[in-house]
Symmetry: C2
Subunit: 613 residues, 2 copies
Amino acid sequence: MLGGYMGKILRVDLSTQEILTETFQEEILRKYLGGSGLGAKILLEETTEKTDPLGPDNILIFMTGPLVGTRALNFGRHQVVTKSPLTGIYGEANSGGTWGVHLKRAGYDGLIISGRSSKPVYLWLNNDIVQIRDASSIWGKDTFETDLLLKRELGSDIVTCSIGQAGENLVKIAAIMNDGIHGRAAARCGVGAVMGSKKLKAIAVKGDLKPYTVNEKALKKSIRNWSPKIRENTLEMNKFGTSEMMLRVEASGDLPIKNWTGGIFSTAEKISGQTISKKLYKKRYYCAQCVIGCGKTIQIKDGPYAGLSGAAPEYETLGMLGANCLIDDVEAISKANELCNRYGLDTISTGAVIAFAMEAYERGLINKNDTAGFELHWGNNEALLGMIHKITYRENIGELLGEGVRIAAKKLGGLAQEFALHVKGLELPGHDPRAKYSNALAYATSPRGACHMNAFSYEFENGLAMPELGYPETLDRFETEGKAEFVAKFQNLMAIFDSLIGCKFLIFGLKDETIKTTVKWLNFVTGWDITPEELLETGERIVTLKRLYNIRCGKFRNDDTLPPRILNEIRGAGGAAEGLPHLGKMLNEYYRYRGWNEFGIPKKETLERLALL
Amino acid sequence: MLGGYMGKILRVDLSTQEILTETFQEEILRKYLGGSGLGAKILLEETTEKTDPLGPDNILIFMTGPLVGTRALNFGRHQVVTKSPLTGIYGEANSGGTWGVHLKRAGYDGLIISGRSSKPVYLWLNNDIVQIRDASSIWGKDTFETDLLLKRELGSDIVTCSIGQAGENLVKIAAIMNDGIHGRAAARCGVGAVMGSKKLKAIAVKGDLKPYTVNEKALKKSIRNWSPKIRENTLEMNKFGTSEMMLRVEASGDLPIKNWTGGIFSTAEKISGQTISKKLYKKRYYCAQCVIGCGKTIQIKDGPYAGLSGAAPEYETLGMLGANCLIDDVEAISKANELCNRYGLDTISTGAVIAFAMEAYERGLINKNDTAGFELHWGNNEALLGMIHKITYRENIGELLGEGVRIAAKKLGGLAQEFALHVKGLELPGHDPRAKYSNALAYATSPRGACHMNAFSYEFENGLAMPELGYPETLDRFETEGKAEFVAKFQNLMAIFDSLIGCKFLIFGLKDETIKTTVKWLNFVTGWDITPEELLETGERIVTLKRLYNIRCGKFRNDDTLPPRILNEIRGAGGAAEGLPHLGKMLNEYYRYRGWNEFGIPKKETLERLALL
């Protein structure tokens, strides 16, 4: 048996109801690992530039990776890969929780959904039992209800992923949620709409198998050694969650404020993890295999949102639904977060489109007739909650907003396209490239459009160092020189995390031994003899593979850009008051470093070197 | 009588054959001067964002200015203003020669053509005689033939402007030529296609009036003083024409080479003014009121182009039809120039679309089937000449190329848009912003799209100084800081030249006293008491007015950009090997300096200050 792998990919065609399993050979697995690596390879082979993302020809891939389901700490996530209906290009989104581990334990490294069901269905996977089941009783329910109803039907020990009403309604910023009220989400790129287009409401999983680890003893020993160290290195995250960084981020000018126009959010403290912990904290939440525990659950006891009990909003959610809409009421944001989780919406894109709508409202491009009476003023909690509902049900201006800012702006016309912040159609997440220049390049070149996790480099021009990649000291965040190589290297490493597939916060835990330890764990599990060099080259291969997908979709250098607001507009206040990245210079160096030509197309020798020809 | 003005604008409607004259009041004249200032005001009032540039609702404005027809040196040009069919926004193009002066002498400050004739016509203006005449015998003729035939009909002392076959065929890069074989051209923005759309073949003019100069004696004295000084200061231009700068330009990395990819053109010497002068020189050509004499006529005695006799190719022509297509055969370029002049094509845009086509051919996006058998290799003279013909007659790939690179690239699809170099649809002229950073901002913000004459600032980061604008020393061409104000000030000044309307080479002649002298001459002629401050504010008003036109067309900050090749691609060789301008930073400062908001829209207080509200 191949270490780390169950060896099987499950294929379910919802048009024909055909169910197949396929086994990938070791050579392919070593070359693409799993997660988004293997997912991208499959997507490239099985869809084309003509594939309608919401048509039956698109495929929806759920992938685990070799370390998922093993003892390897924090490698318990799953990756969703598909052609994005929001961007029309390569799409991916990953999620924590426990669903991925259960998929693996059911015996599958991955699951490929093709076709389209004629009526709502859900999948039930329990080891060798694979059933396409009628979902008429759960269609129309939110993801929390869906989880409960499926548990009532199949047992409380199942784990589900599902779409809410947003995905059902083909809202382009819909997510695929998992683990019920814990609100874990594969959120970006509108993957929920793809699931909705296939009339697939949910996937319930229960697994009893255990992936084989070749060198179980050595892995166990390493885990025992690292476990307390990782905890110690991530104490603040454990205490306050991702939003522990809120004040730091705000102070550095990295927080999106008022649709990316503000430099200072003076009440940031009100939406910080520290405040949430003090006011609303209930308990910690750990994803599968996790020792960091950045997840939090909260409870609201008084006020208009009394009774709310569930996942705390993450930093991204607080930034996008909060600061970017000038909202500092943490309870309202928590409610908005809960609504997004129930309806199955990407909180990043949702915050982005609502901030966009608020600016459009302020500028008179839309009015109360469009908003069903909501006054879309900055900081209006009620409008925020109302819009989430409208987006989900495609009502009034919500119909347009649910298409994402690119399409919404195009349809609104006039000035709207001037303040629609996206890259390749994907809304900017909550870190401002004007505060950390590497992020300009990372957003411009990320395969799925503006993404803060594809390089994750901004943490390393902001205090952290990464000697294993050749950065013994943190970089100057306002420097342009050298950032191209820096971003490329981090993208390669992050592609590994997205393929194995693990939690990127491990970097904070493993610190200077991140790559070394990851390689070790991978070798313990698989029995391979991978070196750090091979691993990083694998990352490069995966980045390049995704690039090839987008090139086939007609995306070249012209699309590797940023919204003018980020390229041209200084904010004049805050921790990055004068910041404006010189994207062109970084991009030029980046293409050279990557061995891509002047249009951003990988050269033949690059493809040869990466065994992609 | 108002000094400097005949006081009349002639209006000819070709649909109704209505002929009217209109008199503008002094207040308006002082506020907008004439040329592109007054033209822009009229265009703004008489067309809308919905006006089809090639429809009868578009107007074609020919303007002189207060100094045209007076003794004022080098102020003998005319300006064409219209809504551009190439760009869909504000369009202008100006020309030297003697046509403008004759229009003025016929009694008209300007001429506005509206409507559309049902059959080909030409206009005959002889003082009060204004006739719309049948042009069936000259329709289909080139501009040289047209000039000859009209002279045969009306007398050898008339001056004509006309379109060639390109304008007749509505080619979007068609020019309006004047002064017959001297090949003077109002070339850019496809103004020739607008004339063609109105079925107006030519405008023949003969004038016997003389514009009144209030202080004739003082003007005469100043001219007598300046005339030899200007000559002395522009001796090289007088000797070698605009192409005297070829070697200097090439050495600084400012020359467009191989569709903007090359840094070195090692055979630049072969297409320099010095070489032309040595090999082909016949005699000098002076526009009306000119003492510089940069115009040259040439004669080719041997070889395949033997017999050619006419205008020498200008620097821009040599750069765009030559270096940018890797052609260094000066006789072939001279022949191409003659063809463009006869057919009535903008040599800048023609060179640009052919270089684009050569790159498309090299990359396999088009092949011999598209090119009617021409091998569109870099440096292929025959292909160059063949394509000019094909563009004119809308045959094969020429049909597409005649739409300009923006449309051609969009229709070709794939990679084509990655190497289509234009701003707002207007092809880049022959100066590379990577070599002189102010030009990046100038191209991005010029009202008509990529234009080297709207700021003309690159000469002042390249050796020249302009103390009157606050630049006692030349600027560092690779510096970004301060370039915003620099460009804005030069744009304001150039808007004056485009309105009065004069030759911008006067700056080389008048040097440190350019503004002072211009103001003096203007006051001598008009009797006004304009100060340099008022004049520059007038320039600012005119720039802002054109901006308002484009804003009404839906062009905002998003459109103030440059092609990725200029923003991202270093050339790695030559005098600006590593140059890459940081456009975003300059743009930000520029909007602030101009009192425009973050989207590039003039603020209310700015419009109030400029009396534009």
